[in-house]
């Protein structure tokens, strides 16, 4: 089934060929894991263990009383070495539990399969998802159980699986669809049940025909789920754009998908939900694409949460000497890192290594009002005017130009012929506006 496209967007190169044909390989079990207490948007967890404690694989080691939060679990069995701060992809060091593995990988007693999982009620499914520490694995890391708990007046009609993987370079979701299509569908069905939604969509960009085929096979015979073939265009996987394309509904400005009766889940999240509900496994590992011309052997790997990036990179032959940028996530929205001394967390979809030629920055020139940023903006705002306002410190003006509606996809900065850092300026404006609103 083919679908119309959304307004705006860009067509960067795919850069996926290095890894899209490579099956996911499990990473070597780590000898030490560093598990940050904050791997999600919301309240950070408090450690439930202390230095010297013995922990089992899958044991909950951190939790929080806040509703918008997700617990964290040990990804190995072994001994807690220390509780200390560690580097975090978002830049600010966070508290983390350091666990030395005993190499046994003994599961914790709570990890029990549920053969009769189909009989679970919606509330039970949501509780399992919360306890398993599942968050949005596309990179946003919003706690999944919160997404699945809309206020009662909001009826959810559609659950959408975001399988667009519109970020260049990344192939983790693509591999997951080829290797575990049934689990994705199971996860989707569980979410549909949890929010009592009658219909499901799996939205895949048309540059992954094999994934479309695999998913179509996996949903065969189920008329409530539609595999949607989407136009390959960035940011096709942006939540609001995906909803618009699949359902024709437009999430109101400042609103959430639930306002138009939709819930969106990433491919990886669906697999995590399936694993958690059927096998009792909390979220302790994920598929990571390690790629870019700055790495020796690009790979898709199943990596335990808490594995140090250095260790993952080592298993891919190490960095090439000309690496200039290390990015966690994709090239359009990923976070550049000052160094590789930090752990893989639940939202780490990719480890992207770019080289000199790819990171070259041109000088910033005055805006020539070519309006290319306006043409590509998927939320139809005018980045050039916001950028101009911020450049001159006029943040209130930036608010008038709808800076708060920006989804930070980066299309404007990508396309700008004057090489102006538009989305970066908009982020500054958003930070300033949000700070003023809180006052």
């Amino acid at each position: 089934m083919s679908f119309k496209t959304f307004k705006g967007g860009i067509h960067p190169g795919y850069f996926k060929s290095a890894t899209e044909g490579k099956p996911t390989v499990p990473a070597r079990p780590p000898s030490l894991v560093v598990i940050p207490m904050a791997q999600h948007i919301g309240a950070p967890c408090e450690p439930l263990v202390a230095a010297g404690d013995e922990v089992k694989m899958g044991q909950k080691i951190g939790d929080s009383k806040g509703f918008v939060s997700a617990p964290v679990h040990s990804s190995v069995s072994g001994k807690v070495v220390k509780i200390d701060s560690c580097n975090h992809p978002l830049g600010r060091p966070v508290q983390a539990v350091y666990i030395e593995s005993d190499g046994q990988d003994t599961w914790h007693g709570d990890v029990q399969p549920r053969p009769d999982y189909e009989k679970l009620t919606a509330e039970e499914i949501k509780k399992i998802i919360r306890e398993a520490g599942i968050v949005g694995m596309g990179g946003a890391t919003f706690p999944t159980h919160v997404k699945l708990s809309p206020p009662p007046e909001k009826k959810i009609e559609y659950v959408l699986v975001n399988a667009a993987e519109c970020e260049p370079y990344l192939t983790a979701d693509h591999r997951a669809m080829l290797e575990r299509p049934e689990d994705i569908v199971t996860g989707l069905r569980l979410v549909m049940k949890a929010v009592n939604a009658p219909r499901g969509f799996i939205g895949i960009e048309d540059n992954k025909p094999d994934a479309i085929l695999a998913m179509t096979k996996a949903v065969a015979g189920d008329s409530s789920i539609v595999v949607a073939t989407l136009h390959t265009k960035y940011p096709q996987g942006a939540e609001k754009q995906l909803i618009k394309v699949c359902t024709g509904r437009e999430v109101p400005s400042g609103g959430l998908p639930m306002d138009v009766g939709c819930v969106v889940q990433n491919v990886g999240t669906c697999i995590a939900i399936s694993d958690a509900v059927r096998f009792g496994k909390p979220l302790i590992e994920r598929i990571v694409t390690i790629t870019g011309s700055g790495i020796m052997e690009p790979k898709n790997m199943l990596v335990r949460v808490g594995t140090m990036i250095t260790e993952v990179v080592e298993q891919c032959g190490g960095f090439r000497p000309n690496i200039r940028k290390l990015i966690l996530g994709g090239p359009m929205m990923g976070l550049a890192q000052p160094g590789p001394d930090l752990p893989v967390i639940k939202g780490t979809s990719g480890i992207l290594c770019l080289t000199d030629a790819e990171v070259e920055l041109d000088e910033i020139r005055p805006c020539v009002k070519c309006a290319k940023c306006v043409d590509v903006c998927p939320v139809s705002i005018m980045p050039l005017f916001i950028g101009g306002s911020v450049e001159h410190g006029m943040y209130d003006k930036a608010e008038e130009f709808n800076a708060m509606d920006c989804i930070e996809c980066g299309c404007c900065t990508y396309i700008c012929p004057a090489k102006r850092p538009l989305v970066q300026w908009i982020r500054m404006a958003k930070g300033d506006i949000a700070a003023r609103r809180r006052k």
Binding site: G254, P331, M332, P338, P366, V379, D405, P417, A418
Partner: protein, 330 residues
């Protein structure tokens, strides 16, 4: 390990398109080569000479102004070269070099650099320069008298004396054959010699996506319909008097045209209406240049009036339900 890696740290996006201002300017210059060649065929060396004078004075003006204002030089963005070329194409091949030089100086110096340089100019620099020397007629007469002895001309200048097709039409004289006129006819300005060459250049710009169809099409369609309604031959109007140069190369100037597609159509239609008024009611000279410059002044107003709805916004605002369903667990 970090030090050895020498990593660059910046916020996303980490990918950038290849497009930049210099290549866009270069492509516009490429698009103007065909018409320059046709004009050179008719007027011989006079055309390259005038183009050379304009480009050189444009570059010199930019350097002088930037030096005085202590700004970094920006010749590499190619906008000075392009403006110089466009000024030259607006003139007839018999134009004395000092006149072209004054026009370029005013266009690049006053209309662009004094307003802050490329991106900050409100009016199309080339047209501003061209029109200025018309409005400064008494001063120009003085210049013409003073400089007459330094006039440079090459063989082939006599062809320039032919009346422009638009003037012929106005005077009710017989017009040249349409095909000749379309492919190459030595009357009027350098850029008026061949509509075909201009369309070729325009098509190239459209293909390269430096311009969109909205301004040229709305502008040309308005003129076509307008003159047809007023009882003149619309085809002759389309391919004469610099209308095509204006539609594809002047009105579409990034800096001085509206942002949104809707705004661009409004802009094109308004220019078209002004062109019709100038051509039918007023004198048949530089109607396109004046029309575009007048509408340049309205671009901010057009931008403001044609703001798009942002994603998730409706014309009749409904209160958006906001916020995350935060339930307190105690």
């Amino acid at each position: 390990m970090n030090k050895a890696l020498n990593l660059q740290f910046s916020t996303s996006p980490h990918l950038h398109s290849q497009a930049n201002v210099s290549t866009a300017m270069r492509d516009v210059i490429i698009a103007l080569i065909p018409v320059s060649l046709v004009a050179t065929y008719f007027f011989k060396l006079n055309v390259p000479f005038l183009i050379f004078v304009c480009i050189a004075s444009a570059m010199l003006t930019e350097v002088i102004f930037r030096k005085i204002m202590r700004k970094p030089l920006s010749l590499h963005d190619g906008s000075a070269v392009l403006t110089g070329l466009l000024v030259a194409l607006c003139f007839s091949a018999a134009t004395p070099w000092w006149l072209a030089m004054v026009a370029t100086f005013i266009g690049v110096g006053l209309a662009k650099e004094l307003l802050g340089g490329l991106g900050w100019n409100r009016f199309n620099p080339a047209l501003f320069g061209r029109v200025s020397v018309i409005l400064l007629a008494p001063w120009i007469t003085f210049l013409n008298n003073e400089f007459f002895h330094w006039r440079v001309s090459f063989p082939g200048i006599d062809t320039v004396t032919q009346a422009t097709p638009l003037a012929l039409l106005q005077m009710g004289l017989p017009l040249p054959n349409m095909g000749t006129f379309f492919f190459g006819y030595p009357g009027g300005g350098i850029a008026e010699t061949s509509s075909f060459a201009l369309l070729l250049g325009g098509a190239y710009l459209l293909y390269k996506k430096h311009i969109s169809w909205h301004i040229p099409v709305s502008m040309l369609a308005t003129v076509f319909v307008g003159v047809a309604v007023l009882g003149q031959n619309p085809f002759f109007h389309l391919i004469s008097g610099g209308l095509l140069l204006g539609a594809f190369f002047m009105a579409t100037d990034w800096v001085t045209s509206p942002i949104t597609k809707k705004g661009q159509i409004v802009f094109g239609v308004c220019i078209g209406i002004l062109v019709v008024i100038f051509r039918i009611i007023l004198a048949p000279t530089e109607g396109v240049a004046f029309a575009i410059l007048i509408m340049n002044a309205f671009v901010p107003a057009i931008d403001n009036a044609t703001r798009r709805l942002k994603f998730g916004e409706t014309r009749t605002p409904v209160p958006a339900q906001q916020g995350v369903p935060v339930q307190k667990t105690s």
